[in-house]
């Protein structure tokens, strides 16, 4: 292999993860908004169950999300009733942004000036953002221009954004009165995705001293559909994020695949680097506003705070081998084929057994598996079970069947090669993607792992074009 080709081995150069704590927007999640229409008495119950910012910061799973602790270090549950000592807003992978600053970021993400901010919120947010570590990315002049009269806008045709306390703090006007794809609600979802994704990319560059102009391509892997009535899923959130994050030399595109999207997006990015098309490709998944409060009924039923009050966003940078960063093994990519079958066993066979066999690795050669890392405190109260544990027990059972571990060692396999779920129920973000920063630490000087598998699944059947599911996996390996 020539030297030029050797340097094209794709590596995970950097990763970031951010949360936007948006309790006021919980009412606008798909499930809460539908239930609020049916039951006006719910408004007060939801309002009384929303967390404050300090509670959200002190929540151990949120601290794990921004990299301040490893998910295996979160301690015993329940986490929601404890506030982690020493919890911080900023972590090695990103931050937990408070609602006012995030609503201001929505205005900064909005080139068509559909977002109007109440003056008090705009003033407070401008002051906070001026002192933010990423302040050079924020156009505070544009923030001043976004000041308006949200209540008057709402009286016309705009959607009101309300604080946790119920005050109207901003509005989003529709993009076109006759196009439901540009309704205020859709624009809000897309702006929330763009703003949070851009924040993740800004943190990625800032923390790793990466020049925005050095990024050639930004692949969006978010869940929202950007488009108009003639192209409902027109897309390219990737380029919109590239622009907001000042990646002026970058182009972009999106990879869509329900919750699985980040993994194929990373594989596409690595392939572009390996082929020499681009040197540095960012993959960014912004937050999913419709999933806020998705399981809120379970939380209310069990007298818990509504824990799905954060938008999650993740960014990774894939580039040429720097001799330090973990390598993305493109020969290890596992795919769920049309013929693979829909059972959980068949999916795991396709994503784990087959690719590992192909590259001569055993399941026990992998130190960690990053799979669906949904926080069980969000899913269990509503009867949806412990998703990561289910995945890890299935993996352990496969290792038993392959004669790699004893049946009695299943628990040890789950606790050492797996981890407790810690991600908000933001599908694509929770699907291994949020673990990228932790994986990078595990596979470099600070950690001791040799290999981490990243694996995601997507429920394609929800879109009613096929009864198939999908999934993809790959192995990250220590460099050198």
């Amino acid at each position: 292999m020539a030297n030029g080709e050797a340097t094209r081995r794709p590596a995970l150069l950097a990763a970031s993860a951010v949360l936007a704590h948006v309790p006021g927007l919980v009412r606008m999640g798909s499930k809460p908004s539908r239930e609020l229409e049916r039951d006006s008495g719910l408004e007060a119950k939801i309002g009384a169950s929303l967390r404050g910012f300090d509670e959200a910061v002190g929540y151990a799973p949120n601290q794990a999300f921004v990299g301040l602790l490893h998910p295996r270090e979160m301690g015993p549950r329940p986490h929601f009733s404890q506030r982690l000592e020493g919890a911080q807003r900023f972590g090695p992978d990103g931050e937990i942004m408070p609602e006012e600053e995030f609503i201001a970021l929505l205005a900064l993400a909005d080139p068509f000036k559909r977002v109007r901010l109440a003056s008090p919120l705009a003033s407070r947010a401008a002051e906070a953002l001026a002192h933010h570590p990423l302040h050079r990315y924020f156009d505070l002049q544009a923030l001043k221009q976004a000041v308006g009269k949200p209540e008057a806008e709402v009286a016309r045709d705009a959607l009101g954004l309300f604080s946790r306390e119920g005050d109207c703090v901003a509005s989003v006007a529709p993009g076109h009165e006759q196009d439901s794809n540009l309704s205020a609600g859709v624009l809000l979802e897309n702006l929330a995705c763009k703003a949070s994704g851009s924040l993740a990319l800004m943190h990625l560059m800032d923390r790793n001293d990466i020049d925005p102009a050095s990024i050639d391509y930004v692949i969006g892997c978010s869940e929202e559909a950007v488009g108009d009535r003639y192209q409902r899923g027109g897309g390219n959130m990737g380029k919109a994020i590239a622009e907001m994050a000042q990646c002026r030399e970058a182009s972009g595109a999106d990879v869509k695949n329900f919750c699985a999207a980040p993994i194929p997006a990373m594989v596409v990015a690595a392939s572009l680097v390996a082929a020499g098309v681009f040197r540095r490709v960012a993959v960014v998944g912004g937050g999913s506003l419709p999933k806020l409060g998705m399981k809120f009924e379970g939380h209310l039923k069990h007298s818990m705070p509504i824990l799905e009050d954060t938008l999650g966003a993740v960014g990774v940078l894939i580039g040429e081998d720097d001799r330090v960063s973990p390598l993305m093994r493109l020969d290890s990519v596992g795919t769920h084929r049309v013929r693979s079958g829909a059972s959980a066993e068949a999916v795991m066979e396709a994503l784990v057994t087959e690719p590992l066999k192909r590259v001569g690795l055993r399941m026990t050669d992998l130190d960690e598996y990053a799979t669906e890392l949904h926080n069980p405190e969000l899913t269990e109260p509503q009867g949806s079970g412990n998703v990561p544990e289910r995945n890890y027990r299935m993996l352990a059972a496969m290792a038993v069947r392959q004669g790699l571990i004893e049946r009695g060692a299943i628990g040890h396999f789950v606790s050492t090669r797996g981890m407790p779920g810690y991600a908000p129920t933001q599908g694509h973000v929770a699907s291994a993607f949020c673990y990228a920063g932790h994986a990078q630490r595990s596979l470099t000087a600070v950690g001791s792992a040799q290999r981490v598998m990243m694996m995601a699944k997507g429920s394609l059947f929800l879109g009613m074009m096929t009864e198939q599911a999908d999934g993809m996996s790959f192995v990250l390996e220590r460099n050198g």
Binding site: S343, A430, F461
Partner: protein, 41 residues
């Protein structure tokens, strides 16, 4: 045992998908009127 029965088959993403449930119950004589697989995350 499902002769003459109308069946609603609800599958789960991490468990058994609805086409598999429908195939089994149709083989047992039932008539599937609705089959859907749900994703709870």
């Amino acid at each position: 045992m499902f002769e003459g029965k109308k069946i609603i088959a609800v599958g789960e993403r991490d468990g058994v998908a609805s086409p598999a449930i429908a195939a089994c119950l149709e083989a047992a004589g039932g008539r599937v009127v609705l089959a859907a697989t749900e994703c709870f995350v």
